[in-house]
């Protein structure tokens, strides 16, 4: 069941207040046929793994058999003798792009073929190039037997790794002096410091962030609480199209390389000149960064093949990249008797490298005093990958609210509303100083609205009870949980800076939209289609903005990702912020094209009479003689006189006389750099569960999702993102975890039989989705993103529902049966 609530068009011409076109036929409407739908359902769309090319060779790279190990010796002679093997590139050959890349995604991300691996399954040692995939596998089986490894100290538990006296994992590691974590929070009073460590108890650095004065505020607080939990067994990306890169040098001197890859964004490292293609991707969710190494390995392999394409496959890649949640979360909070938070201190052992624990706290509360210490440990589990991420940040936010609620015997939703705000200001202040100032509807209060809708949908007032107090006749404990957060992505300057970042780097030219002589409009859209229905939504926006029939807008998918240098194409990730980034340009270009069409309609039309007319061109009278563009409009692909709608002609009556198709171009606008875009949209989730105290099993009876999307372009797309986010978030909360052999550090469940991804029947209860449109986001029409946050926020939803059921907090973030039973004292 989905219900929608509309908004009225804004009045001022600012991106977040750009008015909706009159008489919209496609924006916000159901029943639009997805552009990519038929190809996907019929199986005819080609993903990277489906590509074959004449003469294509195959390559596979060795995977480390242990956590933290080093190659001592490798004999490739037997593997080289396998029929079909062309070349084996060894770790000790003269490397081309060898080096350790200090990525914030992982402390040691190798760029080519390292000798030493820091997690089991890491690509290292050797790349085999062969005629067939089978030959690669046959040779690899032999090579694995003919390679000797030295096993080195490893830690799967980072708390153990950083204890004083622990065995150094990387004793020869150099000090990391430069570190650039992602910064996505803006705050009036903020300081940041970074300290790089030189092998201090297996820590490579520590970052301290200070907002306001948390120490003083904590001292002055009426109440304080300290609590912690750990996510020791991470979830992983598993279940997507595994990593594939194809590389081919197109010149004999091997300097220009053409690549095909299945990443989401611009993953082709620009260390070589070339052309990169990015096709439909089988599930990415933001995950892009493991492609870096595979991309380089493909290019390296292609150097050996005399301009034949090489397809580098990493079949198990999707099991090696963890979600961001794994780490240790320690928090101290100061608060008043009414639940108002006055100070927060967070100490986070942070394995993922990019996590800002305070991120959602800053965007969803008005707390002014926050102190964050992030400690970065070495560990040998594996690297982190952004996949529908933000869950850990949402966990910090909600853990604080629920702990305060428990201590004060309050409804956690009430605690959330008392603390609503952003970037150091309360929502009351934002209403007066932001919404009214910048033209938003100050009567809309997103958090109150989503909580109100959600509570009614799940019957919260009748069902919520104190933790651990409701035992059902069937012997199970009833529980009801709540999570909330700001909606993201929401920021005009996010999309502006995103686009401006690339323009400043001179990476791209202008963006263009063309009008064919037939009257159809076309725009070239980047590929890296990850399933968020970009093409259809751009088509809907452009059609409505100009006044065209839907099928008179052609969004040409070209397959170059945003990292390449071609012009006339949209940019932006196709994930949670693709639309808010590209909608700016889609609308501006559409309005420009419409203006140009209407101007042409009032001017004489040139009839070329062939390529050359020696006696001059023949001119026809204007399509609308004696009229001005302001007297005309376009509807249903017809140009008409506003005062006399029966005076109308198809657009083709104007454009067919063009000598060639016409283009309009634009560059991303510069928005006000001083503008602080406070996040004002909110989302919340309610879950009703039954917990079996004997087995620890958690059954979900009902799930209610309420999301403020700002302005919905494609209702079905938004709805499906909510459903998909619930299935994935619920799975990551309740069932997904990676198991390791403690003796070897090897993953024990890196296959889809033993790694449990939610199937269709795994959520037995209803998923009730509600979408609202407050227009409180800073992108065109007030729209926001939706592709990421539903999953991210729900990665811990069962934790709070289970706590309400059994009255105990789990030490672990996940609510798998063993942790539930441990909390109950039964194991």
């Amino acid at each position: 069941m989905t219900t929608y609530y509309g908004i009225e068009p804004g009045e001022k011409y600012k991106p977040w207040l750009w008015p909706l076109p009159k008489d919209t036929k496609y924006i916000g409407k159901e029943g639009i046929y997805r552009k990519d739908g038929f190809m996907k359902a019929s199986g005819t769309v080609k993903y990277c793994r489906d590509l074959t090319m004449p003469g294509m060779l195959y390559a596979k790279t060795m995977e480390a058999p242990h956590a933290h190990c080093k190659i001592i010796a490798m004999d490739t002679s037997r593997a080289e003798a396998v029929p079909g093997v062309r070349k084996i590139i060894r770790y000790d050959e003269d490397p081309i792009w060898y080096g350790i890349f200090d990525s914030f995604r992982a402390p040691l991300t190798p760029m080519a073929l390292p000798t030493e691996a820091w997690f089991s399954g890491q690509l290292c040692g050797a790349t085999i190039i062969a005629d067939t995939e089978l030959a690669c596998e046959e040779a690899m089986r032999i090579l694995e037997k003919d390679t000797e490894w030295e096993r080195l100290p490893f830690y799967l538990d980072w708390d153990e790794a950083i204890k004083p006296g622990s065995t150094p994992i990387y004793p020869d590691r150099e000090l990391i002096n430069h570190y650039n974590p992602g910064r996505s929070v803006e705050f009036p009073d903020f300081t940041l410091s970074w300290t790089g460590f030189e092998n201090k108890n297996n820590m490579y650095g520590e970052e301290i962030q200070e907002y306001g004065d948390a120490d003083s505020a904590m001292t002055e607080a009426t109440n304080t609480l300290e609590f912690s939990f750990k996510e020791s067994l991470p979830d992983t990306l598993a279940g997507i199209e595994a990593q594939v890169q194809i590389a081919k040098y197109i010149d004999a001197s091997n300097t220009i390389v053409e690549t095909w890859e299945n990443g989401q964004g611009s993953n082709s490292i620009h260390q070589t000149d070339g052309i990169s293609h990015c096709h439909y991707s089988g599930g990415r969710f933001g995950h892009a960064f493991n492609v870096l190494q595979g991309d380089l390995l493909a290019k390296r392999a292609a150097l050996e093949t005399n301009q034949r394409p090489v397809c580098h496959l990493h079949d198990r890649s999707h099991f090696y990249w963890m979600g961001e949640e794994f780490g240790t979360y320690k928090m101290k909070v100061g608060y008043e008797d009414n639940g108002k938070i006055t100070a927060i201190k967070i100490q986070n052992i942070n394995c993922c490298g990019i996590l800002d624990p305070e991120n959602k706290i800053c965007k969803s509360t008005g707390c002014e005093n926050i102190h964050v210490t992030k400690t970065y440990p070495y560990q040998n589990i594996g690297p982190y990958s952004c996949y529908r991420h933000g869950g850990a940040q949402a966990a910090f936010l909600n853990e604080i609210c629920h702990r305060i609620a428990e201590d004060l015997n309050m409804d956690p939703a009430e605690v959330a509303m008392i603390n609503d705000g952003a970037d150091g200001h309360s929502m009351e202040w934002i209403n007066e100083n932001v919404k009214k100032k910048y033209g938003f509807d100050a009567t809309r209060d997103s958090l109150n609205e989503v909580i109100d809708i959600g509570k009614k949908a799940i019957d919260w007032n009748n069902k919520w009870h104190e933790p651990g107090t409701k035992l059902l006749p069937n012997g199970k404990y009833h529980g009801i949980g709540f999570m909330y957060c700001n909606s993201w992505h929401h920021r005009a300057d996010d999309n502006s800076s995103f686009l401006k970042y690339r323009r400043e780097r001179d990476m791209w030219g202008p963006i263009g939209l063309g009008v064919y002589k037939s009257g159809k409009v076309f725009v070239e859209g980047a590929h890296n289609e990850v399933g968020v229905n970009r093409g259809t939504t751009y088509q809907a926006i452009i059609a409505d903005e100009i006044g065209l029939n839907f099928d008179d807008v052609v969004v040409k998918f070209i397959d170059e990702p945003e990292g390449s240098r071609s012009s006339f194409r949209f940019r932006g990730h196709g994930g949670s912020r693709g639309l808010i980034s590209n909608a700016v340009m889609a609308i501006r270009l559409a309005q420009k094209a419409k203006k140009m069409i209407l101007e042409k309609a009032c001017k004489p039309r040139m009839n070329p009479g062939g390529y050359f007319d020696l006696y001059g061109y023949q001119w026809l009278e204007p399509a609308f003689p004696n009229k001005t563009p302001e007297e005309l409009d376009i509807k249903d692909s017809m140009v008409f006189e506003i005062a006399n709608p029966n005076n109308k002609q198809p657009i083709s009556a104007i454009t067919t006389y063009l000598s060639r198709e016409m283009f309009v171009t634009d560059v991303p606008p510069d928005l006000d750099e001083e503008l602080h875009t406070y996040p004002m949209g909110r989302q919340c989730y309610f879950m009703e569960v039954e917990v079996d105290p004997d087995t620890g099993h958690v059954d979900v009876i009902k799930d209610v999702c309420v999301y403020d999307a700002g302005k919905i372009i494609s209702p079905e797309t938004c709805h499906s993102q909510m459903i998909g986010g619930t299935y994935m978030g619920y799975g990551r909360s309740r069932v997904e975890e990676v198991f390791f052999d403690p003796n070897d550090g090897v993953r024990l469940n890196d296959d889809l039989i033993n790694y449990p991804i939610n199937l269709i029947g795994d959520i037995k209860g209803d998923i009730d989705v509600h979408l609202i449109e407050t227009g409180l986001n800073w992108a065109p029409y007030g729209m926001g993103g939706i592709g990421e946050s539903p999953t991210a926020v729900q990665t811990h939803i069962t934790r709070y529902a289970v706590h309400n059921a059994i009255g105990k907090w789990l030490d672990e973030g996940k609510t798998t049966p063993e942790y539930v039973l441990k909390a109950l004292g039964k194991v």
Binding site: G31, Y33, R34, D36, G37, F38, K40, A41, S42, G43, T44, V45, K46, Y47, R49, D50, V82, P83, G84, L134, A135, E138, A238, G239, I240, E241, A242, Y280, S281, G282, G283, R284, D315, R316, E529, V530, G531, V532, N533, E716, T717, H719, S720, Q721, I723, G724, G725, Y727, M728, G731, D751, L752, I753, I757, N758, L759, I760, G761, I767, T791
Partner: protein
């Protein structure tokens, strides 16, 4: 007394187990002469002995085919030239002397229908149906997500009306079968594809063809499935994007009980 032996051959059988065992060594055909492979070239035959007895003072032929005169012997047929031998040792000696290094061109010739087109193909023993459909016939709909574990359902196709995991079925098992993939379903049941599209039963789309095949097989057997029926039928297909509800809506639309 003389004996005449008539041989009645049973159907040639190479068991799936033998193929699976042999497949790993028939790489590039270089190991055809291995004992494992050659032992699979044997077949059991029933032999009925005809015994002719000559009575004293004349010739009288008595033919007996009693049960105790029926024996089963094993004949070994050379895979290269078809000559028959009475023992594996004899076959191997012949092979080593005559065909050392010769690669057998193929494994089994099968005939099958795929999306209403007839094919006769020489398939290698270790090819799965997925390999056949993708690598030989160029169909891209059977996807690879779990890499042959049979865990994801994204390689699902319909074989003789049943949804199967094409990565778990050998190509040589498909002789005489009728196979549908989502490419064919798009032609035979465009309404099903349209329902999938209009109900947004997809996001990235990687798993969608597998779901389409499972769905069609369900509808062919049960034209009006309940939600429970749908969930049970689709319970073997993974969607990492998590967009399961769209499938239920699409199927119910096609079934007419939206």
């Amino acid at each position: 007394m003389s004996e005449k032996t008539e041989i009645k051959k049973g159907p040639r059988k190479i068991s799936r187990r033998q193929f699976l065992r042999d497949a790993g060594i028939v790489v590039g055909g270089t190991a055809v002469g291995s004992a494992f492979f050659l032992s699979a070239c044997g077949e059991e035959v029933e032999v009925t002995k005809t015994v002719t007895t000559t009575a004293p003072g004349g010739t009288k032929t008595i033919t007996t085919t009693a049960a105790d005169n029926t024996v089963t012997i094993t004949k070994y047929t050379c895979p290269v030239d078809g000559l028959e031998f009475n023992s594996l040792e004899e076959l191997k000696a012949h092979y080593d002397a005559t065909h050392e290094g010769v690669a057998v061109a193929g494994g089994t010739v099968i005939s099958l229908s795929v999306n209403n087109k007839e094919y006769t193909l020489d398939v290698k023993p270790r090819w799965t149906l997925q390999d056949l459909l993708r690598d030989q016939l160029g169909l891209t709909s059977p996807k690879d997500m779990c890499h042959g574990y049979g865990a994801c359902g994204s390689c699902s196709v319909i074989v003789d009306g049943r949804p199967v995991l094409s990565c778990m079925m050998l190509a040589c098992e498909c002789d005489g079968t009728v196979i549908e993939t989502s490419e064919g379903i798009a032609v035979s049941r465009p309404d099903l594809i349209d329902a999938y599209v209009l109900n947004h039963a997809m996001q990235c789309g990687y798993c969608t063809p597998g779901f389409v095949c499972t769905t069609k097989a369900l509808l062919d057997h049960n034209a009006n499935p309940t939600e429970a029926d749908i969930k049970e039928a689709l319970g073997g297909n993974i969607c990492r994007c998590g967009d399961y509800i769209g499938h239920i809506k699409a199927i119910r639309q096609v079934a007419g009980n939206k």
